[in-house]
């Protein structure tokens, strides 16, 4: 199993991220408008912003994929309108690292639901850290800050974790992912067995 990322891995990851950029467009306008209310309802769908990372990792299952997916998602948003732009690159970097850290803790070998949820939390914490600098969230009233953190964590676990996990499970059923996952030693063994 080749550990380094091949051209195929990279291209597929970027395309996955771009597709989520297209799908974000379903939420984008909604996101901005409910954001004005300030009650953090929007935070519940914040997880959509880093869904690409978990989905791409669960499909390709290699180190570096989650980070690359997040950076590409930022790039995708950029291509589709651009207003959030450069700030997204930094968010993508931090969120991607958050995911990557969790997957690395499991040596990139666990693709279970709870690990995906942990990765979602990793990304959410990353984004909250940057929010302290970018959005002064530590200067919000305590109840409001708590609401923000809870809403973002819940939204992330639900969307980046649970949604993403079941989405990939559904995608696996289509058979498309078969062709791009690394071939296991078992598969070679099976060919050998046929030889006898």
């Amino acid at each position: 199993m080749k550990k380094t990322l091949t051209l195929t891995d990279i291209l597929i990851t970027i395309v996955i991220a771009f597709i989520f950029s297209v799908i974000y467009k379903l939420w984008g306008p909604l996101y901005s408008f409910v954001g004005i209310l300030g009650l953090h309802v929007d935070q519940l769908i914040y997880g959509m912003w880093f869904m690409a990372a978990t989905v791409a990792f669960l499909i390709i299952r290699k180190p570096g994929i989650a980070l690359l997916a997040e950076l590409a998602a930022a790039q995708g948003e950029f291509l589709f309108g651009g207003q959030w732009g450069i700030s997204l690159l930094l968010y993508g970097l931090i969120q991607g690292l958050g995911c990557e850290l969790i997957f690395a803790m499991y040596r990139y070998k666990s693709y279970r639901l709870y690990v995906t949820c942990l990765a979602a939390i990793g990304a959410a914490i990353g984004s909250l850290l940057l929010d302290v600098f970018y959005g002064y969230i530590d200067s919000l009233a305590l109840w409001n800050l708590t609401l923000l953190i809870v809403a973002r964590l819940v939204g992330s676990i639900l969307i980046t974790g649970v949604f993403a996990y079941y989405l990939v499970e559904a995608l696996d059923k289509t058979g498309v992912t078969k062709a791009i996952r690394p071939v296991s030693n078992d598969d070679y063994q099976r060919l050998e067995d046929e030889m006898r």
Binding site: K173, G175, P182, V183, S184, R190, L191, E192, M195
Partner: protein, 484 residues
């Protein structure tokens, strides 16, 4: 020059072996055509001979001997899945960059390669997206020539092109391949035959059943080719011969859709215009015209899936006089986009749930429909896991299971092998016997000739001609053909 000995391959998660000790060798300068039914592994064999498997695509293979060429180029099937750059010049430059050619020579070489495939562009910095399918494939050939290959692999390079594009591409290939070894996989072989001196037939599991000189192969294995669905020359004649005589149909005077000054819009611009036309119950209407003439736009407009203006009336069995999707089936070109569930069975069930068919009848109807469309044995499969032919049949089945009055099909047989095409046509004809009006976009004159009762010719976004091809009675004279 190219050789495999006792080749075996096994895709992960597949139960059976592909190729069982296949041996093959191809000499320098030979021009070989590989044919076989869908799933026979022709493309896989091509990728193994090129070395793409296992170097780029990881598939477990085993061979006693495998000799490949370092210098090869491959043209693939899908014009939209072989370019990585947005502009024509940049795409060829990509190859030159890979070969480490100095930048000063690039502009000259780009023009030269484009010339060789007959792509004369006023400006070479033109967006690939603007080219027609045939031009895209010629660009693909040009970029492969830029590799200066000794061996050319062609993996159904014209499967997704219309007849004009197909001819252009093969003419080009004939010219550029003279001094090269060529290995071709193709199931539309009319234009390929003058080019090759050897034909190899593979069977369903990738075993070689015939290998020889083209004329010899075609005289001895014609029925095999028919059985495998290969588009050999004059296959339509063979097909027409065994068709039953046409049944007599009721007089088709009752309109189902009428249009008057009807327009279809795309991005706020009028893209299609029908002055005055009627679709009658029981018609098999073929909509023909060049690529980009507005055929698909007309279909989308009839289905009210794009913005329209002018008058259109629907006379459907629910008497609603509106565009009711429960009474109108639509089959898109890419069937996968219409699938929404995880199994063939659930896919059909969804259609029934949306209709006014009584739930008690579901089970019987599902079983009958699955059998009629030859999908019963795969009813629990995921729709994406079906073969191309099965996917197409399923998309038609979902559109027809719930008592529709009319079925609209956007190039349903496009890119299909002959076997699937004939099977589909017979299903449509059966639908028509069950009082479902058929409207289909097609590029295939033989389909119009054999099945259609009317033909609408579209040109530059306008319905120009309506031809009555009705075979109701033999004694219809040429005078009855009316032309607008």
């Amino acid at each position: 020059m190219l050789e495999v000995k006792n080749l075996r391959a096994k895709y992960p998660n597949e139960t059976s072996l592909l190729f069982k000790d296949v041996s093959l060798s191809i000499q320098q300068g030979e021009k070989v055509l590989l044919v076989g039914p869908s799933g026979s592994g022709k493309s896989t064999l091509l990728q193994i001979l090129a070395g793409l498997i296992p170097d780029v695509i990881e598939v477990p293979i085993k061979a006693d001997k495998r000799k490949i060429s370092e210098s090869y180029g491959m043209v693939f099937q899908d014009p939209d899945a072989q370019f990585c750059m947005p502009y024509v010049d940049e795409e060829i430059a990509f190859v030159l960059e890979n070969r480490n050619i100095s930048q000063q020579n690039m502009a000259f070489l780009i023009s030269q390669y484009l010339d060789r495939v007959g792509l004369q562009l006023a400006d070479e910095h033109v967006s690939i997206q603007q080219l027609s399918g045939g031009m895209k494939q010629r660009l693909a050939i040009a970029s492969v020539l830029a590799l200066e290959p000794e061996v050319l692999f062609l993996d159904e390079p014209t499967a997704m092109l219309d007849q004009i594009g197909t001819k252009q591409v093969w003419d080009t290939l004939k010219e550029v391949s003279e001094d090269k070894t060529v290995v071709i996989v193709e199931h539309k072989i009319d234009h390929v035959l003058p080019l090759v001196d050897r034909v190899i037939i593979l069977d369903e599991i990738g075993a070689i059943v015939a290998d020889g000189e083209p004329n010899d192969i075609f005289s001895r294995f014609r029925s095999k080719l028919y059985q495998y669905g290969i588009w050999y020359p004059n296959i339509w004649d063979d097909y027409a011969q065994q068709l039953p005589n046409y049944a007599q149909y009721d007089n088709m005077h009752q309109p189902i859709i009428t249009m008057d000054s009807f327009h279809g819009y795309y991005q706020k611009q009028i893209k299609m215009h029908v002055n005055d036309a009627v679709i009658h119950r029981g018609d098999w209407l073929a909509i023909t015209g060049e690529n980009g003439s507005g055929k698909s736009t007309l279909m989308l407009a009839i289905m009210q899936l794009i913005k329209t203006s002018g008058e259109i009336n629907y006379f459907l069995s629910d008497n609603s006089n509106t565009c009711d999707y429960r009474k109108m089936g639509y089959v898109f070109q890419n069937p996968e986009l219409q699938f929404i569930t995880n199994s063939v069975y659930a896919e059909l069930e969804h259609s029934l749930k949306n209709s006014d068919v009584h739930p008690e009848k579901f089970a019987d109807r599902l079983e009958a429909h699955l059998k009629r469309y030859n999908l019963y044995h795969v009813k629990d499969h995921h729709p994406y896991q079906l073969s191309i032919g099965q996917k197409k049949r399923l998309s038609v089945a979902t559109a027809t299971i719930a008592d529709v009055d009319i079925l609209l099909l956007d190039e349903p047989t496009f890119g299909q092998d002959a076997k699937n095409t004939f099977q589909m046509l017979e299903l449509f004809e059966e639908c028509r016997k069950n009082n479902i009006t058929i409207v289909m976009v097609t590029h295939q004159p033989e389909i119009v000739e054999l099945y259609a009762t009317k033909e609408w010719r579209i040109k530059d976004g306008e319905l120009m001609e309506i031809l009555d091809l009705s075979r109701v009675q033999e004694n219809i004279s040429k005078d009855d053909m009316y032309v607008y």
